[in-house]
């Protein structure tokens, strides 16, 4: 790898060709990609170098806009013709850049294959799955016989763990769940035994339990084919257990490269350190604030003069602003390179929390008060929401019921945060909507701030309740009307309460300060803010009417890791300062553990386990909770490699053939290991929510053995 900083690109390329290890299956040198935009030419990728050895896994980590996906598309030759690409991409020594689309087709899918992020849209809905696998085979093996191709397709489906592969060959994509479709995508990608497999955020769109399954499949696929894998992700946990090497990208440039251990245990670039500190951990009850990286990545339409991270870096000095630092080797560890002039100072003991001045964990006035002595702000009693499942064109027959929410009871006290967790489809969002709808005709009772939905027949009571509870949405972009200025957005709830104009103005200025935005930004439109700032506006809108309870629907899942930390810290702070209560729905259990006091685990419309967050996470009793927790990847390579993982079989059962007894029996790892006599109990009786101390769970055999087939350890 070249350390000759002063060379021109042409010289660097020539040298790179000479020095590139001969056995590298893919070697990328000085890759640059430029796009045109309304603001001028954007330099999206600025000099990426790496060598990929056969059978190894390279993880490319970075936030959105860091150029990681563009890099992979450039390697595959999938960028639009309008893009300007320069540098060198060599597959086994053969130059790929500059090849025509037709010539690239020979390599795509046979030598280099790709798994895309969204499994729902990457399969053609009108062809069977078998057809699409066979198509991939036909393109590169025209002489292969039909029988051979079918046999190979069945073999591939079996390899990626699809049950009864022979019958499933004739299934259409819509008959598969998201996780299954992603397996099919992997099957197609490895159909021709590629030497390089590029996986672009392969699990981002999937649930954690399914993510664990798919990562497992990727692992087997790599073992079976011996391919080298490029794993692109924003999730530091996902690559910790899989990758051999890591490349951290920022503003289109690799800022730190090295082995997994180097990056996770001995990061030398402040950005990598911040990223690692910004991720909450699911495995420890560390109630420290997260490391917020303030600011936003630089605008790549402008030339970069200094270190691209300097404006956000707490350690930046004048020297950082003159000339962009090239990656230099870290003394003492071979192959570990960081693009920072202070690399030497940032050795082992440097603490991200101290460097980034993470705020202290805020203390709420309710922290000292026992839970039972606090007032209830929200109470649900046996709330149910069933949707009829209809069939028939003219006369609709009822063929079943979807029990989206099936008898939910819980309460939230002042100053506490309750999180509802579970896979998608378990009814968490429906629960939130039921609470927000607040209608007398609902099944079950919702009491908000002492007002029950059963008596809320007039608009006055409803208005009073709306003042008590507000909502923050998942997607900060979708939650703000693009045609409203921030002022109008924040004024809407206040004007609705009939507040006079002067008071509205005053309150809006107060709100802007409260969520950490500049007061003079009120005249801007939402599209002029970054994602994190938009979410702050969303939070400000929710707080406008001074509610007691804020409902948070996946408040940070649409945000980048570094921005996410800032918003989580803000939520923490607001709860302490204003004495708010939160009801949060989230799929990211690490965030849940960090922010909440209590947690409720939902499965198929029912709460299966609930209790204090630390108790439930440290000592999960229900097998579903255990599986869920074991599926979360932890950003710690050593731990990740030795950890036992429960891989659940299959997906959520269809509501049509919902199990009679315990809902979870079909996928339960404990159930699978039980003797037949005991299994009978699970299949016929519905386990009630029994309490043990503070913790409540719905399982007959909480201490049961886990079936060995479902337990995986990577040693």
């Amino acid at each position: 790898m070249s350390t000759n900083i002063s060379h021109t690109p042409a010289e660097r390329l020539r040298d790179a060709g000479l020095y590139a290890p001969g056995d590298a299956v893919l070697s990328v040198r000085d890759l640059n990609v430029r796009f045109n935009s309304e603001n001028g030419v954007v330099h999206a990728v600025r000099g990426v170098d790496f060598d990929l050895m056969p059978g190894k896994t390279l993880g490319i980590v970075g936030e959105s806009g860091s150029g990681k996906s563009v890099t992979s598309m450039a390697i595959m030759g999938l960028l639009p013709e309008t893009a300007d690409i320069s540098g060198s991409v060599r597959y086994k020594g053969k130059e790929l850049l500059g090849l025509s689309d037709k010539a690239m087709c020979k390599h795509r899918g046979s030598d280099i294959a790709m798994v895309f992020q969204d499994p729902l849209s990457s399969l053609t809905p009108v062809y069977t799955v078998g057809n699409q696998i066979i198509e991939a085979l036909t393109v590169h093996n025209p002489t292969m016989s039909k029988q051979a191709k079918e046999a190979r397709a069945v073999e591939l489906l079996r390899m990626v763990g699809i049950p009864s592969p022979k019958d499933r060959l004739k299934a259409f994509p819509h008959e598969f769940s998201g996780g299954m479709r992603q397996r099919v995508m992997i099957a197609i990608a490895i159909a021709n035994d590629p030497r390089v497999l590029i996986a672009d955020e392969p699990t981002t769109a999937l649930d954690v339990t399914i993510q664990a399954q798919v990562l497992e499949v990727l692992h087997t696929a790599q073992e079976e084919t011996g391919a080298a894998v490029v794993m692109i992700t924003h999730d530091l946990g996902v690559v910790a257990g899989m990758a051999d090497d890591i490349m951290v990208m920022y503003a289109g440039k690799p800022v730190e490269t090295g082995t997994v251990e180097d990056i996770y245990y001995n990061p030398r670039m402040p950005y990598s350190m911040g990223l690692l500190g910004a991720v909450p951990r699911v495995d420890t009850a560390n109630k420290q604030s997260l490391v917020p990286i303030e600011g936003t990545p630089p605008n790549l339409a402008l030339p970069v003069t200094g270190c691209s991270f300097a404006p956000r870096c707490p350690l930046a000095s004048d020297a950082c602003l003159h000339g962009e630092p090239e990656p230099v080797s870290v003394p003492g560890s071979e192959g570990h390179r960081a693009a920072c002039i202070k690399t030497d100072e940032l050795s082992g003991e440097a603490n991200a929390h101290a460097i980034f001045q993470a705020p202290a964990k805020p203390v709420s006035k309710f922290d000292g008060v026992a839970r039972l002595e606090r007032e209830k702000v929200l109470e649900l009693k046996d709330v149910k929401k069933h949707f009829p499942l209809l069939k028939g064109a003219l006369i609709k027959r009822r063929i079943g019921t979807v029990k989206a929410v099936d008898g939910l009871s819980f309460d939230i006290r002042e100053g506490e945060c309750l999180s509802i967790v579970g896979e998608s489809g378990c009814g968490k969002t429906t629960t939130l909507l039921e609470i927000m709808e607040f209608h007398p005709d609902q099944v079950g009772e919702v009491v908000i701030g002492g007002v029950s939905n059963k008596v809320a027949t007039d608009s006055k009571t409803k208005m009073a309740m709306r003042k008590e509870m507000q909502m923050v949405f998942q997607d900060p972009t979708g939650a703000l009307d693009p045609r409203f200025t921030v002022y109008e957005v924040l004024a809407e709830p206040l004007e609705n309460l009939g507040m006079p104009r002067a008071a509205v103005r005053k309150r809006i200025m107060e709100l802007m300060r409260l969520v950490g935005l500049q007061a003079d930004h009120v005249n801007r439109f939402p599209n002029q803010f970054s994602g994190g700032q938009r979410q702050r506006i969303g939070i400000a809108r929710a707080l406008a009417v001074n509610p007691k309870l804020v409902v948070l629907d996946e408040p940070v899942s649409a945000l980048d890791v570094s921005v996410q930390a800032g918003v989580i810290n803000l939520l923490d702070q607001l709860r302490a300062e204003l004495g708010l209560s939160y009801l949060m729905v989230a799929h990211d259990l690490s965030v849940v553990r960090h922010i909440s006091d209590r947690v409720a685990v939902m499965y198929l419309g029912k709460i299966v386990e609930t209790g204090d967050v630390d108790e439930v996470f440290d000592n999960p009793r229900h097998p579903y909770t255990r599986a869920l927790l074991s599926a979360i990847p932890v950003p710690d390579p050593n731990l990740e490699r030795t950890r036992e993982r429960i891989i659940l079989q299959g997906d959520l059962p269809s509501p049509l053939d919902a199990p009679k007894g315990c809902n979870f029996a079909t996928r339960c790892p404990v159930f699978a290991a039980l003797p037949a006599a005991k299994q009978e109990k699970c299949l016929t009786l519905e386990p009630p929510l029994a309490s043990e101390g503070q913790q409540e769970f719905a399982c007959f055999f909480p201490d049961g053995e886990i079936d060995a087939d479902m337990l995986v350890v990577h040693a």
Partner: protein, 320 residues
């Protein structure tokens, strides 16, 4: 309440937003439109025709009611730039008048029908359920109605509408039949907008329904409405020409492009200018609108390729 974010961070964030990354949406749309050469040409042709229809009368001393007994059925000459009709009326004067009526009909029908469909479609989508079902039934029923028969009956004096001028009658009838397609489009678009979080947020804040429709739904389907406005003009102009051509649209003494073309078809070989001139004007009118529409779609559609290339630009730089 204290400021909980340290001031340095605030400055940083504002700096990031202050760089000229922020471009107003209207400016982006304008720029994208201007990148499409054809569309700009279309816009100019349309504007020229519009001005011609307003002030073209000053180009000729004749008007559409004056007969020139010395030049009956004559070809273009210094006295009459475009020649005269077989009744001795200056064709230039007729064309100016006809173009004005055609554009007038187009603008009114295009504009008003877009308004009707926006309100109708949004209402359907917002209330849903029974309201939606009934309104959709009415809409489908109107689509089924044979427009040409209604036009024929109405313009030939049926239904006691004799006193109205024929162009006004035609506008009313065209309006009656032109809004259904767009209304259905608006309905489906609004339905997807209803699912947006900001509409939900307004609902959960207790904002009244009509306020939500007016403040959140109507402005957000604006780009569709602009596109449909230009398309509606084209449609109305073509419909007017077609109806007048077969003699059931504009009636004499009112003139329109359709009437002129219709009258001249019988004598194309003896009075070719009477046929080709109005036909050319009509093509220019509808053609320019179609060209504009293409550019507008490019401008409003974020996925269109009107962003320009990076390759050519950098190539130039390296040559230099």
């Amino acid at each position: 309440m204290t400021n909980i974010i340290d001031p340095i961070a605030e400055i940083d964030e504002s700096r990031a937003a202050d760089q000229d990354v922020v471009i107003g949406k209207s400016r982006i749309i304008f720029r994208r439109f201007m990148r499409n050469r054809t569309a700009v040409a279309g816009l100019f042709i349309f504007l020229a025709l519009f001005l011609f229809s307003l002030f073209g009368g000053f180009l000729t001393p004749w008007d559409k009611d004056t007969i020139d007994p010395l030049n009956i059925g004559m070809g273009p000459s210094p006295d009459h730039f475009l020649g005269t009709s077989q009744a001795g009326i200056d064709l230039m004067a007729l064309i100016v008048e006809g173009t004005r009526i055609s554009i007038f009909i187009g603008l009114i029908v295009g504009g008003v029908s877009v308004l009707i469909s926006a309100v109708y479609g949004c209402t359907m989508a917002f209330f849903g359920g029974k309201v939606d079902a009934v309104m959709l039934f009415i809409l489908e029923a109107l689509i089924m109605m044979p427009a040409i028969l209604v036009v024929a009956v109405a313009t030939s004096g049926g239904g006691g509408l004799k006193n109205l001028p024929s162009w006004l009658l035609l506008i009313i009838v065209l309006l009656f039949f032109s809004w259904m397609g767009t209304a259905r489009l608006v309905r489906s678009l609004s339905m997807s907008l209803m699912q947006r979080d900001y509409v939900k947020a307004a609902k959960y804040m207790g904002v009244p329904s009509r306020k939500i429709v007016w403040r959140h739904l109507v402005p957000n389907i604006g780009s569709l409405l602009v596109l449909d406005f230009t398309r509606g003009i084209t449609g109305a102009v073509l419909a007017e020409v077609a109806f007048s051509f077969i003699g059931i649209g504009i009636k004499l003494p009112d003139v329109s492009l359709g009437v002129l073309i219709g009258q001249a078809t019988g004598q194309v070989s003896s009075f070719p200018w009477m046929f080709w001139v109005p036909l050319t004007v009509m093509f220019l009118l509808t053609g320019s609108l179609a060209m504009m529409n293409d550019g507008l779609r490019d401008a409003f559609d974020p996925s269109s390729s009107s962003i320009g290339r990076a390759k050519t630009k950098t190539a130039k730089k390296t040559i230099k």
